[in-house]
């Protein structure tokens, strides 16, 4: 591995930074690719580094989750993987974005349309009266009728537009909610499958995990999953395919080189 930190370049299988004040958490972040400095190669490709990439006193650990990640780093698979992939793809196809709804249009009351229609009927009556009288007001009555008819047509158009806008809003909202429901179902399904997958990976590695704990200096618990976080983290690392540097702030081994050998991983001792 290579490490550039505070203007110094380090190279090797085990790097001891105890004499410097380099922050182990910062190195671990860089290994996970979450920070650009310090510069380190190679960086972690596996999720296992998120759990055990920085081993330090007082750390917490979800042992089974970390062990399952170690199994994944070794390329182990489970019978659930295909369905998990399928569900994830379907989930990615379901757009979670809230749709832009068509503009809300105030509904036009039926009464409004009825009144406009009554006005047209009234004007039509007046036109007939004036035409019967053949008087000068007939043309004025006719133009009033035309205006009333125009108003009626406008009100009817508005009412129809409002109805359609409302229907479009409902449809868009419904489609979005159907997507939300489908996404929730798929997400729950993925969570269940991942639990099953994790359990099967943990089952597959439990024996080797227990053996790794036994070969660590210090006492071994009866149940390997009761092991304290530091011991569990080191044992998980021993089983993981760990190409990228591991940051250690604990002394379970004589020196960083021994740690690197036991873990089969590059080690940065901070």
């Amino acid at each position: 591995m290579r490490l550039w930190v505070d203007g110094t370049h380090y190279e090797g299988r085990a790097i001891d930074l105890r004499a410097t004040d380099v922050d182990g958490a910062a190195v671990a972040r860089a290994v996970r690719g979450e920070a650009l400095t310090p510069t380190v190669t190679p960086t972690a490709a596996s999720a296992v580094y998120g759990y055990v990439g920085h081993v330090r006193p007082g750390m917490g650990l979800r042992t089974k989750t970390a062990l399952a990640a170690a199994a994944r780093s070794r390329g182990m698979t489970t019978p659930y993987d295909d369905e998990i992939t399928g569900c994830r793809e379907r989930l990615a196809d379901l757009d979670p974005e809230r749709p832009e709804l068509p503009t809300q249009v105030d509904p036009v009351a039926d009464r409004t349309v009825r009144e406009a229609a009554e006005a047209v009927a009234a004007h039509r009556g007046r036109v007939r009266v004036h035409e019967g009288l053949a008087d000068r007001d007939a043309s004025e009555a006719r133009s009033d009728l035309r205006a009333a008819a125009r108003r009626l047509a406008e009100r009817e158009t508005e009412r129809e537009a409002a109805k359609q806008a409302r229907a479009r809003r409902r449809d868009a909202a419904r489609e979005f909610r159907d997507r939300l429901v489908a996404r929730r179902r798929l997400a729950d399904r993925v969570a269940n499958l991942e639990r099953d997958a994790r359990a099967s990976l943990v089952d597959a590695l439990e024996g080797r995990f227990s053996a790794a704990l036994d070969s660590l200096p210090g006492p071994s618990p009866d149940d390997p999953f009761d092991a304290p976080p530091v011991a569990a983290a080191l044992s998980v690392l021993r089983l993981a395919d760990a190409e990228a540097p591991v940051v250690l702030e604990v002394d379970r081994f004589g020196d960083p080189a021994t740690a690197a050998t036991w873990l089969s991983a590059p080690v940065v001792r901070c």
């Binding site: 809230r98 749709p99 709804l101 909202a173 979005f176 909610r177 939300l180 429901v181």
Partner: protein
């Protein structure tokens, strides 16, 4: 009455809180949905949820639905089928010999 349906955890939580705090405006609590009474105050609570959670809250206005509100052939078919002599007979077969509407025709017919 109003039917309020929630589509997110946060909306569901707030619906539960409304149901707890304002029992008078809730006729039925149904998990992620609830039936609200047909009052202005219930509408006010439903609209508050809608305002806060946007499309994650659906509000529908409900009317009672009686057999006479459905077309007679549909209501008759439901009554006849529920009084069938053979419990195992699927509706499709039951309808075929009896001049009752086929399930397909009813599926395509809006109410």
């Amino acid at each position: 009455m109003l039917l309020v349906v929630t589509y997110s955890r946060a909306a569901r939580r707030d619906l539960r809180n409304v149901c707890r705090r304002h029992e008078t405006c809730v006729a039925q609590e149904l998990g992620r949905a609830a039936l609200f009474e047909g009052t202005e105050f219930a509408a006010f609570q439903a609209l508050r949820l809608r305002e806060k959670h946007d499309l994650a809250v659906q509000v529908e206005q409900l009317d009672p639905f009686e057999p006479c509100d459905a077309p007679a052939r549909v209501a008759d078919a439901a009554r006849a089928y529920e009084h069938r002599a053979e419990p195992a007979t699927p509706y499709e077969r039951f309808a075929a010999g009896r001049d009752l509407p086929a399930p397909e025709s009813m599926r395509e017919e809006p109410l």
